[in-house]
Symmetry: none
Subunit: 278 residues, 2 copies
DNA sequence: CATACTAATGACTACACGGTCAATTGTCAA
DNA sequence: TTGACAATTGACCGTGTAGTCATTAGTATG
């Protein structure tokens, strides 16, 4: 484990207990068993650590959900898989989820707020594509409301195990939320959230990634990796970004190679979107 | 206006923007146009100010909602009035609502956490009484789930105007949430949140259970069970309570044995806490 | 073993915080 | 106008913070 990873891991525990503000760098380094100076060899500042943590987990989370939604063939299982994976992920990374749910986002600096907003939008996009696939025309006017309800369920029910550390029957939870969602989708008539409203929310924060940005992210990823099949796959994919030459099937295979690697989930997500591969 | 009120008003604005931690007493007094010393004539400490703010608004909010729910004669309008009043109140006191939604509750001191938990319980009680009145027997097993959904709606939809300051059609919002709530109440079949689960949530805030109490609960559980692996496991765990002898790994295994048994979840939860096993 | 280099340390700085209190200002009855 | 008292101030204190950097420890190479 690199020092960076150690710091991130230990810092997360403290942040979850005390929040960002209330946790000092000294506490973090003590908890890691390293000196304060060593901390600043890995991170330029405390803020950079926070950004790194948020990126690390949000990328993984977004990528996981996206994969599940895109790879579930059976419509009947889609919603279930979505909820199950979501809560499983929350449960696995409960320290981070706790921070995410409760940290006062508006008090962050602009950069972090925008960042979180964008991740939130990614999640919303995934949810909307799922709604579209399952209910299509039937729920067109209601899709945003439905997405909001789904997010509301996620928020409220996750409190149960984040705040109170209760044992959770994930299967039952997922099934019960599927039922609720399905009921709403098939019977709702009143739409509150219009396209217009969504546009107003999105207005200031639009941002597509350019090819160059993606290449840059891939390169950074390659640097951080140890020699392995995954690294080789990523290098090949980077070449494919710059000079498309490979058969789609090969690209898909390469993406599959890196999908499970914990540090590649985000980059795999970006690449899947870029190459238009499910 | 008394000095106390002035301070509370001005402090609230800053807290909403920056959070409690990030707002200094100096900032507050500057914003009020008074000296730091004057602040401490009105409040013993910054914490006392925070408590005063939370009490002031939560009392008002709880009382408002309670009044509406208790004084609405017409069942058909009850839910609508509830949602309308709630969001109107959020809107009116949006600075406070913002704090409430986003402040990391777990990082507060014990007193504040308990306080908020109690207000939350009051609100839940009001919601549950409303559910009981409207749907009675029909939704008895589902009442907690329904209450959670209502809270989820409140949370998610309030973000729209708390975070993004959008103009809101309160009437349409309330009507659309009434529809959703009604749909769920009349058609849901799967209950996720049981009485047992609610008990577990309330538990950690009460006093710690003594060993004797836990033993008693375990014994009662054993009596009610049929002969099985689970029962044997529970008997062994009871002995372990009285005379610790087993390896932690064995204890964990025994706990795992009873975890899924429907009548053991509560006792498994207590035991996990007692033995300090995740 | 000597050298060159990197990794790691922790004492240190500058500063911001919550909270205090001697000194100052404002008020009003005598 | 005086004097007694209450209200208010802001310099000050101890503490804890983020971040720096001269120094030291560790390691690889010739």
């Amino acid at each position: 484990m690199t020092k960076k990873q150690l710091i991130m891991e230990k810092a997360l525990e403290l942040f979850a207990k005390q929040g960002f503000e209330a946790t000092s760098v000294q506490q973090i380094t003590d908890h890691c068993g390293i000196s304060k100076g060593a901390f600043y060899l890995s991170f330029k500042s405390k803020d950079e650590l926070i950004v790194a943590l948020i990126d690390h987990f949000m990328r993984q989370f977004t990528a996981d959900i996206d994969y599940v939604v895109n790879h579930e063939q059976n419509d009947a299982d889609l919603l279930y898989k979505f909820y199950y994976t979501t809560f499983q992920s929350f449960n696995k990374h409960s320290d981070f989820a706790k921070i995410l749910m409760k940290e006062p986002t508006q008090s962050f600096n602009e950069e972090l707020f925008t960042k979180l907003h964008n991740y939130n939008k990614s999640l919303e996009k995934i949810i909307l594509s799922m709604i579209d696939r399952l209910y299509g025309e039937q729920a067109n006017d209601l899709k945003y409301d439905l997405a909001f309800c789904i997010k509301g369920f996620m928020n409220t029910y996750s409190e149960l195990f984040l705040l109170y550390k209760l044992p959770i029957d994930l299967d039952l939870l997922a099934r019960s939320l599927v039922e609720k969602t399905d009921l709403l989708a098939k019977n709702m008539t009143l739409s509150f959230i219009s396209d217009e409203l969504i546009q107003m929310i999105d207005q200031p924060l639009n941002e597509e990634r350019t090819l160059a940005q993606i290449v840059e992210i891939v390169e950074k990823n390659i640097e951080d990796m140890e020699d392995s099949i995954e690294k080789e796959s990523l290098i090949l994919l980077k070449q494919e970004l710059l000079e498309p030459a490979l058969h789609p099937a090969i690209v898909k295979g390469l993406l599959e190679n890196i999908r499970q690697h914990p540090h590649c989930k985000w980059v795999a997500y970006l690449l899947r979107r870029h190459f238009g591969i499910k």
